[in-house]
């Protein structure tokens, strides 16, 4: 054979050898290609869990999940010749389409990203059939919250897509972009119960991402675990009624079952329709609700702080009796000279003083608690007395958070020795500096729920269960409420409660047929406008079923708006109906607002109407 023939044959064998080695290296030695092949064909499909449902105390559904669809886009597969038809189908204009398409393409031309978020079920039904015609678009089912009744918005809270900072804060690394998370309210408090657990399915896909089957028969798939359902202590009928009564007003109302600490109703007014912060409504209505001057997102029962006013007198009487500085039958002459008073001059005991809300009587009673004569210096004496008094007060659940299972509870404020030392200097203050505390004015601040709790501990004559809104959770069953003892002997409550009964009976808006209501009104001085109207109480007197606190801002006398509202709620809860239509009409139509608030409320109502349309 020709020598050059051998060269050519050698070349052929050499190439075959090079190929064999190269193939051996990428097929047998290098594992990277096997991994890459798997990544190519595997699509991880997140199986979003159903969020736990929320029921009221009777098992009526309050919050459920409603399907929405994120429309996903894979820009590479989109035929832009269809864009006009797609724009019509999705009802978006050209500029929006371009912007969304560019955004998706900047992210990735072959990976999917959200094109239109949270298309409601009814809209989706309309476009579903058309959608299959256009390549590059596919729907991803999600769920958002739906609400059976338009109540309890502030307490329920809302969910929204998890923010970057929330993902960073999450130490368990659960959250991924696009997940929903409870932002406020119960949705936030019980997030880890409600959210459930994401599942993952691995699908084999072709190059277009079309699913071709299960990966290894689903061996690596995990099913999503639905969230725990939660039963609230809320009586939704009562809640709806209370919200109706407070509609158009600024204020709050809290009703508690004193036997358990169950929160039966909790109203923050003004409020909003929870559906307005669900799904794609959130971006539409969210900003206007958040920026509203009347702060509908401000959960007043837990966050609003007022001076307690006359409600505080019940506490002052109890502390004085427990300290043996006051006997329930002791007659004290009050001439109205110590402090301004609406009660007439005369002879007072505990019962009468509570009934008529005598400021001068409680000035004297509080003086006895503060000035116990333990030290010659009246300054040091006041310190000792103040310390004892603070000790009692904190056991009434004031000055600290009660520990309600709803986020953002405020603690209120009870001034103490340190506070007065800061203001006046150590040993430079005495009773004369702090006497306004005796009638619940001055630096003292409480929240409506703390006052409702006061009603509950008065009803229970010395103990209370920490107020709570969740009755049971699927996996934990009924949650045992925490019992707290106030440290006041039961006997001391008799005269206070009798006084509250008398006070309630003397107010024509409070008494309910066949039910003995015990209550205390409070007119909270408001330097910025009309006084706030407040009421705290419970009913019936024997075997109490409901404790309540109501505040209506800028409504003047406590005896007017707040007492009437609270009385109607009590009647509704105990009897299940309303036999005093005149009172209901008064409260519903009641003209409690000042001019400024009226104007603001009008504007808000107008916005709400627009939104509803």
């Amino acid at each position: 054979m020709n020598a050059r023939s051998f060269i050519i044959q050698g070349l052929i064998l050499f190439i075959a050898l090079v190929f064999s080695i190269r193939l051996f290296s990428i097929q047998v030695i290098d594992d990277d290609y096997k991994l890459a092949a798997q990544n190519n064909i595997l699509q991880k499909i997140v199986d979003y869990p159903f969020r736990g449902l929320i029921y009221d105390r009777d098992g009526d559904l309050l919050v459920y999940n409603t399907p929405v669809y994120d429309l996903m886009i894979v820009p590479k597969e989109v035929d832009l010749e269809d864009s006009t038809a797609i724009m019509e189908l999705l009802e978006i204009d050209h500029a929006t389409f371009e912007a969304k398409y560019d955004k998706a393409r900047r992210y990735s031309s072959i990976l999917s990203s959200k094109f239109v978020e949270q298309i409601p079920n009814e809209d989706f039904a309309r476009i579903q059939d058309q959608l299959v015609k256009y390549s590059g678009f596919y729907p991803l089912p999600r769920t958002v919250r739906g609400y059976e009744k338009s109540i309890l918005a502030n307490t329920l809270g809302y969910i929204a897509e998890v923010s970057r900072s929330e993902i960073n804060r999450d130490t368990t690394n659960y959250y991924k972009g696009g997940d929903y998370i409870g932002k406020v309210g119960i949705e936030k408090q019980y997030e880890d119960k409600l959210r459930g657990k994401r599942g993952v399915r691995y699908k084999i896909v072709n190059v277009q991402g079309v699913v071709k089957g299960e990966f290894k028969d689903g061996e690596y798939d995990t099913a999503s675990v639905p969230g725990q359902s939660i039963q609230l202590t809320i009586d939704s009928e009562l809640q709806a009624y209370a919200e109706k009564l407070l509609a158009g007003k600024v204020g709050s109302l809290v009703a508690i079952d004193p036997k358990t600490g169950d929160i039966l109703a909790m109203v923050s007014a003004p409020s909003y329709d929870p559906n307005q912060l669900s799904g794609r409504n959130l971006s539409e209505f969210g900003p206007s609700i958040m920026n509203d001057s009347l702060k509908p997102l401000f959960n007043r029962p837990l966050q609003a702080m007022y001076p307690p006013g006359s409600m505080f007198k019940t506490i002052q009487a109890l502390i004085a009796m427990q300290e043996n500085k006051l006997s329930p039958t002791e007659k004290i002459i009050c001439d109205g000279s110590l402090i301004g008073d609406h009660a007439p001059p005369g002879i007072y005991d505990v019962e009468r003083a509570i009934q008529l809300s005598s400021n001068n009587y409680f000035y004297k009673v509080f003086k006895r608690v503060i000035e116990q004569g333990d030290h010659d210096s009246r300054y040091i004496d006041a310190r000792i007395g103040m310390e004892k008094w603070n000790d009692y007060i904190s056991r009434f659940g004031l000055g600290n958070r009660l520990g309600v299972d709803i986020p953002n509870e405020q603690s209120g404020y009870i001034p103490d020795i340190q506070f007065y030392d800061r203001v006046y200097g150590t040993n430079r203050w005495a009773f004369s500096n702090i006497y306004s505390l005796s009638i619940g004015q001055g630096e003292v601040l409480v929240t409506p729920i703390q006052m409702a709790n006061l009603g509950a501990l008065l009803a229970n004559r010395g103990h209370y269960y920490t107020p709570h809104i969740v009755k049971s959770i699927d996996d934990q069953g009924v949650i045992e409420p925490k019992l707290n003892d106030v440290g006041i002997d039961e006997v001391h409550f008799n005269s206070v409660i009798d006084g509250m009964q008398k006070m309630a009976e003397s107010n024509f808006r409070v008494p309910i047929q066949d039910i003995i209501v015990c209550g205390k009104t409070s007119t909270v001085e408001n330097p910025h406008g009309m006084d706030h109207s407040g009421f705290m109480g419970f009913a019936p007197k024997e075997n109490p079923q409901i404790a309540i606190a109501a505040y209506v801002e800028n409504a003047g006398w406590g005896a007017r708006a707040a007492a009437g509202t609270a009385s109607l709620v009590i009647e509704k809860y105990i009897t299940g109906e309303i036999n005093r239509p005149w009172l209901e009409e008064f409260v519903l139509k009641g003209d409690f607002l000042d001019e400024r608030q009226k104007r603001e409320l009008e504007a808000m109502n107008k916005a709400k109407k627009l939104a509803a349309q």
Partner: protein, 422 residues
Amino acid sequence: MRNDQLIYKIDWIVVLVYFILVFSGWLNIYAADYDPDVNEGILSFSQSSGKQLIWIASSVILIILIMLVDFRFYDSFAYIVYGVFVALLIFVLLLGQEVSGSQSWFQIGSYKLQPSEFTKFATALALAKFLSKSTRKTEDIRSQIIGFALFLVPMLLIIKQGDLGTAMVFGSLVLVMFREGMHPLILIIGIGVALLFLSTLIFSQTILLISIVVLTLLGIGLAAKTPSKIAVVVLAGIVAAGFVKSVDFILTDVLKPHQQQRVMQLLNPNRDPLGAGWQVTQSKIAIGSGGLTGKGYLQGTQTKFNFVPDQTTDNIFCTVGEEQGWIGSFLLLAAFTTLLLRLIYLAERQKSPFARIYGYAVVSILFFHFAFNIAMTIGLFPVIGIPLPFFSYGGSSLWTFTILLFIFLKLDAHRMQVLQRL
């Protein structure tokens, strides 16, 4: 009677390897196209495999026709066949269909034909005829120029069509010239130019120019003061420097954008894995995921789910690599190597120079296709888009390779008659 004789004279080893390749190619075309959701059989005409069966059947008819034609026809009509196909190449430039950037197709009904494919055997015939004339010496520079011209003409016409891959195939005929006595320096210079071209893409011009100057000075030193050698070295240095300077022009004006991309991709495979590098990346993934024994027939996921483009045609080897693994790939390499070495053996035993040279042309063309097709799928060469002989889907290519091969088998079967005739 003549046919009976032919059956004994034909080289059955080559025929056997041919049918093994065609049959396994057919099975792999089905596998590459296979969609588990669409339950179509291998014979379905909606599948490439069904259509390929038509091409295979018609190839068998072609084989019979080739065998029936007098063997002297190919020698006698070589120039005419060549002339006809070169004319077709010119026609297609004027009248042809443009398919993905290449104007190289004739549309006949629903079938498309690519004259450039058939030009391969026409050129092989013409080159064999020209070089086989005993009056010519391949060492003679005039003969060399005409020899080169015979395949450079169709090559340039095909480049003009925009099909660089097919055009490059004609370059493989240099091997024939080499076998027939061309000075090896031409081969060396050719490879040198290719290497220099690649270097210009990798290194900066400045570094290359400095290197050329250094090498030239070294060459002058080695030339040991012989003026003619010094002159050659200096000339080579100047040409090389000029070439380096003109590569920019070649890159931007000669190569098409997708070809530039593919060259750049080879040099840096991770440069653009989802864009220009997609094909190389995906074909390597498909082959690499096959492992030693492969995923099993029809079990490949990468080709089946269309991750590899052109999977039934240019990238058919991916299906073999993925489903049959290294062992299957090795057997394929072995089959091609056997075929090529057997063809060289046959060529060398020819009594007539025409048959021998034609045999080498067949070897060169098949070898080029085999080497560059597989090299591009395993990422050793830029994607140039040429089919794997006998394996890839497509009528034009299967017919061309069948005609190419069986003309040679026909010539081989009659090798003893050549002497008789003389």
